[in-house]
């Protein structure tokens, strides 16, 4: 049975993606992880300049989750283009480039720099990095700010290369932000990023993370992600959604699809089990095969008229 899907005109072999920042550069995964076995790999968020990241500790284990504050470490867009992207493309990996910047103008410049790069199927605009300077908020917290960035990226991205906006699960009005992004030209939405959170190291009597506040990911946030997907799909069923947040089994992915997701990203689960992508894909294929109408019939199927 076919598992292929199309999002904004782009065909993907199946709907299980690697979430941004969770597959490294791709090279680190052991052979069993089958990088080319993902429907798409969403890269870690590419920044204009190299970034060293935040002080350690950068992660803390919490019940059914991880809080992390990495600070988007990476070598910057130039090394991505000369080294990391060609390596992925050579291996037949479908690449979605995630980008992050400080301002709409910087996002625009980054999009412009990626414009001519061969092998980028789509751009994911990271509007919801949970780690921000004190007093600031992620772009995704406010409809106007989010829409402004999406507009800037869309204008600087080639026609035929879809732009997806990655939103935050802890926004007051996620439907309002989603509408602003779609109105500004987003071809799809990625829901959700890690949720702003922190830990306390009780022995040391101080925050668990060097940066104090980070993002909570893993199964702990799956219900939040499901709610976000549900609300946005109910309001805007024609805008494709890539769901992420605590998915580690095919059944988790199926739940996201039933809530309204067209594709599902596996993130934190890859840290626990680098082979999780292919496993989730196979488990989802089994679920779809048992369902009359297959995978397409699962999309949004939990939205029964009487419940909406």
């Amino acid at each position: 049975m076919s598992m292929s899907i199309a999002i904004a005109g782009i065909e993907f072999a199946h709907p299980i993606f690697a979430a941004a920042g969770c597959a490294g550069t791709g090279r680190e995964l052991p052979p069993q992880a089958e990088l080319a076995g993902f429907g798409a790999v969403i890269t870690r968020s590419i920044t204009a300049e190299p970034r060293a990241g935040l002080p350690s500790p950068r992660i803390a284990e919490t019940p059914a989750g991880l809080v992390n504050a990495l600070g988007l470490p990476g070598p910057g867009v130039e090394q991505f283009l000369t080294d990391e992207l060609p390596w992925l493309v050579d291996r037949g990996v479908p690449v979605i480039a995630s980008i992050a910047a400080d301002s709409a103008a910087d996002y625009a410049r980054l999009a412009q720099r990626l414009r001519q790069a061969a092998g980028i199927l789509a751009i994911e605009v990271n509007l919801s990095n949970p780690v921000v300077e004190p007093g600031r908020f992620p772009f995704a917290m406010e409809a106007g700010a989010a829409g402004g960035v999406v507009h800037a990226v869309r204008r600087n991205t080639a026609v035929g290369v879809p732009v997806f906006a990655k939103l935050a699960g802890d926004t007051t009005d996620i439907v309002g932000v989603a509408r602003a992004c779609a109105g500004a030209g987003a071809d799809g939405l990625s829901l959700i990023n890690a949720v702003r959170a922190m830990g306390i190291d009780a022995t040391a009597e101080q925050p668990s993370l060097g940066a104090t506040i980070g993002g909570l990911s893993g199964p702990a946030i799956k219900p939040i992600a499901l709610r976000a997907v549900w609300e946005v799909y109910a309001a805007m069923p024609d805008v494709p959604i890539i769901a992420s947040g605590g998915v580690r089994t095919g059944a988790d992915a199926a739940e996201m699809i039933m809530a309204g997701a067209k594709a599902v990203s596996v993130g934190t689960a890859l840290l626990n089990d680098p082979a999780a992508g292919t496993r989730v894909r196979d488990e989802l294929a089994d679920i779809a095969a048992r369902r009359e109408g297959g995978l397409p019939a699962l999309l949004g199927c939990a939205h029964q008229e009487e419940r909406v």
Binding site: G24, E49, R51, A52, P75, A100, E133, L271, N272, P274
Partner: protein, 276 residues
């Protein structure tokens, strides 16, 4: 970039000694290529576990092939939740293993006089190192330190008669200076960053080459994150945040910015762009 393989291994034996345990796993695909200083990454509990971080554990012994299809022994801190889970597993339980990971110790070409300083469960990484150095004709002296009886004393006795067991002692500059004054050519150490740092200072004082295996707790162990990054000054003079799980865990100690561990130094590549 590595021969590391992910594999469902079988718990074959457990030896618990006070605070530490050695867990031996059979049917580990990557066991044949494991080198001293490398580690294994183990998934803690099954697919539904609430403990999401894999544990990076030092490899104390490795055998290739044979009846058990390659075995790896790893050192476990039984007071840590992941270590407690692992040591509670019955024989024949399945555990998801990725191994071997990381950059190993480099061995000298010619026989030399070596001082090996091991602290805590990281001492496990020195046991096979000692064995290989002795096989190559080197003189090996071990200094093993820990709160609990130091890990690996019994195993190490097979390879060297020069072992100082400093149970209950903290590593001290005086002890190190004394040990290093006794005709030492090369220093190898393994322990937490704070412990290894003391060894690095002592070795630097007398200008001895020193390779340090740095124990970074709670790394993802799957190499896909950047949680274990530490500041390393490259031979080109540029400081970079480097993952100790891939470029380490063994580093030339003179390249580590010991005073800046836990921070991102201001002159580090990419440090200027701190927040998006």
């Amino acid at each position: 970039m590595s021969s590391a393989a992910q594999w469902p291994a079988t718990v074959m034996a457990k030896r618990v000694t006070d605070r530490y345990a050695v867990v031996t796993l059979a049917a580990v695909a990557g066991a044949a290529t494991a080198r001293p200083g490398q580690f294994a990454s183990l998934r803690i509990a099954g697919p539904d576990s609430a403990l999401l971080l894999r544990r990076a554990l030092w490899i104390s012994e490795a055998t290739a092939g044979g009846r058990h299809g390659g075995t790896l022994s790893v050192a476990v801190d039984v007071h840590e939740p992941g270590g407690a889970w692992l040591t509670s597993q019955p024989d024949s339980a399945k555990v998801d293993v990725i191994a071997p990971l990381g950059r190993p110790f480099s061995l000298p070409r010619d026989p030399v006089s070596c001082l090996l300083v091991g602290m805590g469960s990281a001492s496990a990484s020195l046991i096979r190192l000692a064995e290989e150095l002795v096989e190559r004709g080197s003189r090996v002296r071990l200094l093993l330190v820990g709160e609990a009886p130091p890990f690996g004393v019994l195993a190490a006795r097979r390879f060297s008669s020069e072992i100082a067991d400093l149970t209950g002692a903290a590593i001290s500059a005086t002890v190190l200076a004394e040990a290093m004054a006794d005709n030492v050519d090369v220093v190898y150490s393994a322990g937490s960053a704070e412990q290894v740092r003391v060894v690095a200072a002592a070795a630097a004082q007398v200008n001895l080459p020193h390779q340090a295996a740095i124990d970074t707790p709670l790394v993802c162990g799957s190499r896909t994150c950047t949680l274990c990054a530490i500041p390393i000054r490259g031979r080109d003079g540029i400081t970079r945040m480097v993952r100790s799980c891939t470029e380490g865990p063994v580093f030339a100690a003179d390249l580590v910015r010991w005073d800046d561990l836990g921070t991102v130094p201001g002159d580090c590549l990419g440090a200027a762009a701190e927040q998006p």
